[in-house]
């Protein structure tokens, strides 16, 4: 039996949490246990759930593996991640998703829920065997061609309809391909000055609008990945106001950084550490995204943790890979962007980073409230410290964090997965 002493559940008054048999067995004062974890000043959150993680295995084990990526997740306070399908081979069959699921079980740092590809090979031509992946041991419920957009309207319609049979959801990477050929950076003042091919907001918004209408037409669930523009927020707000079954996520980096990073930053201009898909947008977009996350228009934060080896980022901008790592810094960035600004309290953070993503992914044992009888998936977080981000201290196999040079608040002190500590004193167990 483990007792966590004086933890502030969702930022409330200090309480003791007793863990037995993987469950929260008692909450109160002066509780005793075999192992005592002092949590003075620490906030207890339900274990975080990420809807959008690239673990890179199979195929790019030089960038990340299920083992190293889930270590990073645990260090970041996550107890469940959804592993995106754009691996090599693509996770488009029951065999591949079961392999990823098993590797997650073996690693044991957090639950790994594979995302299935919508189309075979992410080619956007034929539906992958969605039902087989849903029925597999991996029990896939989230389907996405992330990295690529399901741009064919008919194929998207069919996917949305088909997954209804097993309560699945299509998570769309909204990017109109013709409008983004060769695109490098948000199309605007900065891209114009830097001479980088523009990536217009409308390329995202047009697909989101279309998909919301399709989801309404066929009565399906739609999830929108990494919303990045103020216009996308407006469309999703409108779709929700109609009562349509649309959910959305925003990444930590889109809540904090703007396209101006490409021009002026602590690591120099044109540094592709800031190259990401969708691109960093403008200050106005960041403001709209924060407000939308606060008012629930955007349901959750998802990291889009995208590891890349050094050589894929130490290049000229156009040649660099897109993406940034985010698991280990997600909660700190959310504190900086949402809590310090007064937009969310800790209950709100728990809702957007645990409860809602678990619900969207249809995970039964995750995202549950910290109360007696719930599985003991718990993140203990110290919001009072501020530390400079050190890429070399990351446990991810890759180092491509965009926060180098910044000082961020907070630190995950401990993570518990069904009562078993995966992280203690900020270190892997």
């Amino acid at each position: 039996m483990i007792v966590i002493r004086n933890a502030r559940i969702l930022g409330g008054e200090p309480r003791d949490i007793l863990i037995a048999n993987g469950l929260i067995s008692e909450i109160g004062a002066g509780l005793g246990g075999d192992t005592v974890i002092e949590a003075d000043g620490l906030i207890a959150l339900p274990g975080l759930v990420d809807l959008h993680t690239h673990l890179r295995e199979p195929g790019r084990e030089d960038a990340e593996t299920v083992e190293t990526g889930t270590r990073a997740a645990a260090i970041g306070g996550f107890t469940a991640v959804h592993a995106m399908a754009n691996t090599s081979p693509v996770a488009d069959t029951a065999g591949v998703v079961e392999q990823v699921w098993r590797r997650g079980q073996e690693a044991g740092h957090c639950d790994v829920h594979p995302v299935g590809a919508v189309t075979s090979g992410l080619e956007g031509k034929h539906l992958a065997e969605l039902g087989a992946m849903a029925d597999s041991q991996a029990r896939v419920r989230v389907f996405s061609d992330d990295g690529k957009c399901v741009s064919d309207a008919v194929l998207m319609r069919r996917a949305l309809e088909y997954v209804k049979a097993f309560d699945g959801v299509v998570a769309q990477h909204a990017q109109e391909p013709r409008l983004t050929e060769g695109a490098q950076l948000n199309e605007g003042e900065v891209s114009g000055r830097l001479g980088l091919t523009g990536w217009p907001a409308v390329a995202e918004e047009a697909i989101i609008a279309r998909d919301c209408l399709l989801a309404a037409h066929v009565g399906s669930r739609l999830h929108v990945c990494h919303v990045s523009t103020a216009g996308s927020v407006e469309i999703i707000r409108w779709a929700k106001s109609k009562g349509w079954n649309v959910t959305a996520e925003v990444t930590p980096h889109h809540l904090l950084l703007t396209d101006s990073c490409a021009e002026a930053s602590p690591v120099g201009p044109y540094n592709p550490i800031y190259k990401v898909n969708p691109p960093l947008r403008t200050h106005d977009d960041v403001t709209a995204l924060r407000e939308a996350l606060a008012d629930g228009t955007i349901d959750c934060v998802a990291t889009d943790h995208a590891p890349h080896p050094v050589e894929d980022k130490e290049t000229e901008w156009a040649a660099a890979a897109m993406g940034m790592i985010g698991l280990e810094t997600a909660l700190s960035v959310v504190q900086e962007a949402m809590v310090e600004t007064g937009l969310l309290d800790w209950a709100g953070v728990a809702d957007r980073m645990s409860t809602r993503p678990a619900r969207i992914g249809r995970l039964s044992g995750q995202g549950l409230p910290l109360e007696v009888g719930s599985p003991a998936n718990i993140t203990l977080y110290d919001p009072a410290v501020r530390t400079p981000v050190d890429p070399t201290a990351m446990v991810s196999r890759s180092r491509n964090t965009p926060y180098e040079g910044l000082t961020l608040p907070g630190r995950v002190v401990a993570t518990f997965l069904r009562g078993r500590p995966t992280v203690l004193d900020g270190k892997l167990v």
Binding site: E187, S191, G195, Y270, E314, T315, E316, A318
Partner: protein, 304 residues
């Protein structure tokens, strides 16, 4: 000045210093023996990832007239074409002890990246669709030579602004030096936030010409037509080409410039290009002088 990467990095005083230094050096070019010992023992590397014989020769001549050792490193047929990264190429040059690296690269920002990896000075000889600062300097030099001033000059830059590094550098430099720039192009060939640039914008060449002191025509590449930036070469030429009739609308002292290479008959007609009011040939000569001045000011100091 450590590097010359963006015309926007130059203060008014620095820009004028380059132009004035170029003017002094121009006198040397008039002598029968053109060589100066200023950069003896210094190494200048021309690192060209894109074919550009004109710019490379210009930098080579500039460095050699200052007695520098010149190494030409062309990406074709080298380790670069075998997949060597820009960083590894930079480290190689660093090991050779390059005092200055002149880089031409197809990717915007490549000179900024290079500057992280070499100790010597980096001179941007054109990066993607970003900038070409020595071109802007030689253009400003040519304008001042012909018209005697830059302050208050009305300069029209006409053509594919969206993809033009020459236009970006010229807008930045000329606004620093007090000239008034108007960009003229079809809306498809202008960046979306161009109204925030320090210049005017027009879609109508005929309205701009009568007021212009300088008309700078940019090369328009035919592949832009295939990407639907404009319907046909003929229509482009009719709306935005500088032909005899439009040339006649210019006032008598106005000059015509082109950074080359020209598409005669497309953005500029042959008779306009060859007219005495065209500076196109002297721009080439001025290119060498201005680049000499830049090299001299960057690596000619005592404390190298």
């Amino acid at each position: 000045m450590k590097h010359l990467i963006s015309a926007g990095d130059l203060s008014r005083d620095e820009a004028l210093l380059i132009l004035d230094t170029a003017e002094e050096l121009a006198r040397v070019s008039g002598r029968s023996i053109k060589k100066l010992p200023t950069l003896r023992g210094r190494t200048v590397v021309n690192l060209f990832f894109e074919d550009s014989t004109r710019t490379r020769i210009s930098f080579e001549a500039a460095a050699k007239r200052l007695s520098a050792d010149v190494i030409n490193f062309s990406a074709k047929g080298s380790s670069v074409s075998k997949g060597e990264s820009l960083k590894d190429t930079a480290l190689t040059l660093e090991a050779m002890g390059a005092d200055a690296v002149v880089i031409r690269h197809g990717a915007s920002g490549a000179p900024h990246r290079l500057a992280n990896w070499v100790r010597g000075s980096v001179l941007n000889a054109g990066d993607g669709t970003h900038e070409h600062p020595t071109q802007a300097l030689l253009d400003a030099f040519s304008m001042r030579q012909r018209l005697g001033r830059l302050e208050g000059l009305k300069v029209a830059i006409v053509g594919d602004i969206l993809h033009s590094r020459v236009a970006r550098s010229n807008v930045l430099l000329l606004s620093t030096l007090g000239a008034e720039v108007t960009l003229v192009a079809p809306p498809t060939l202008l960046p979306v936030s161009v109204e925030r640039w320090p210049c005017q914008v027009s879609y109508d060449l005929d309205a701009v010409l009568p007021k212009a002191d300088v008309v700078m025509m940019l090369r328009v590449q035919l592949e832009r037509m295939n990407a639907a930036y404009f319907p046909s070469a003929r229509e482009y030429s009719r709306r935005y080409g500088l032909d005899r009739d439009r040339f006649a609308k210019l006032h008598d002292d106005a000059i015509v410039m082109h950074p080359g290479p020209m598409n005669r008959g497309m953005e500029i007609s042959a008779e306009v290009a060859d007219s005495p009011r065209s500076t196109i040939v002297e721009q080439v000569g001025n290119g060498v002088t201005v680049r000499m001045a830049a090299l001299y000011l960057l690596i000619g100091g005592e404390n190298q």
